[in-house]
Subunit: 224 residues, 2 copies
């Protein structure tokens, strides 16, 4: 691997390639061209070659990629050969839905703990996980080997949840609260923010003429 | 605005700037430097200037951005001055959580319809929205002026849900199912995929040495 920081977006695409290679493999497809794989993933072929180039040389010119081989290699890169242990903080409607969501289990993630500050939620069992009070986080995260924390609390409580997870030893956080978490440098945070994605749609659906955007020719002092 | 396609990621950041400018405005802050705004958003200052440059010239050199002004301008660009109407397809745990989620309402989105194929869910009222059968989608989407469809069904049903929404006249889709939707060119799709985000964390948390990645020096025929 080149000694560069790989952008998160490239990792996300790698994961998308792996998912689609798996489907091809299940259908008995042995070789796939970069054009075909790109088409399935909704990405352009040059991008696939560029993303893979971070990690080495894959595929055979004029032939394409051997599906099983490439899947295996991406699996190693992404650590797909290992089960990862998650802890949820915040068992409201969203947290409940996440605990029940098949997508996590199907992709090698298991919730091994869940926490909530509300006493009425403590003790409820959802699937195999019993909701525990926040006070038990430090102990349970260590005992159960939690590697990634999932934050689904209200925005005002998200930073506290992150701080508690990090103190307990968690270094990876998936954050559903629409705030920017302040974390130590060794902690990795990925945000899932529904309304930011909707804002992209809203922008694309807004006719350009109705934007009445600032003209390039206007002088900046108009801002004052 | 320059006559270029603005990347979705830039729009997402614009939306993030707007959110933080709003908080600054509420605190009574009148002017913010690009360095300070970048710090709050967790983004580098050059990126902010680059994103804004798509739309015109903002800010005053040596002073920074006038908070209210920039918020107003971004609001126009993103269409934040208008309420957007959403329809949900799939009222399982995730769909239920989305209907109840404050993030949508707080950011100018309102669910005006919800659909589910299961008869036992039809007729249930969640907030102001009553779950309707799929057969009513075409009529209700038109009657209620739905602009964006939110898909929270199982992966195997997501394409059908998208097709139905598009037939009813929806041109923007927020897709929570982990599949690549095939849509017409005039339809905009944004995906929210939990496990792809987790895969980024998994990658960052996997020690490089354990990746045993393919060396650049290995010849490609090893793939065969």
């Amino acid at each position: 691997m080149k000694n560069v920081k790989i952008p998160s977006i490239a990792i996300t695409r790698l994961s998308l390639y792996a998912r689609n290679l798996k489907l091809l493999d299940q259908k008995g497809v042995e070789v796939v061209s970069s054009v075909r794989l790109a088409d399935i993933c909704g990405i352009n072929p040059a991008q696939i070659r560029k993303d893979l180039a971070y990690f080495g040389q894959f595929g055979v010119r004029g032939v394409g990629y051997y599906v099983k081989e490439l899947l295996f290699e991406i699996g190693k890169i992404l650590g797909l050969d290992k089960e990862w242990r998650l802890a949820l903080v915040g068992v409201g409607n969203l947290g409940f839905a996440l605990l029940r969501h098949a997508q996590f289990v199907n992709h090698g993630y298991t919730f091994v703990a869940a926490f909530d500050r509300k006493p009425k939620r403590v003790g409820i069992k959802i699937g195999d996980v019993e909701v525990a009070p926040l006070e038990n986080m430090n102990r349970l995260v260590k005992e159960r080997g939690v590697e990634i924390g999932v934050i689904a609390v209200m925005p005002g409580s998200a930073q506290k949840a992150a701080d508690m997870l990090i103190r307990a030893g968690v270094c990876g956080i998936l954050n559903f609260a629409p705030i920017q978490l302040q974390c130590l440098a060794h902690v990795f945070v990925e945000n899932i923010d529904f309304s930011l994605k909707l804002d992209v749609l809203r922008y694309r659906l807004t006719p350009a003429r109705s934007r009445r955007h600032r003209s390039h020719s206007k002088p900046p002092q108009l801002l004052a």
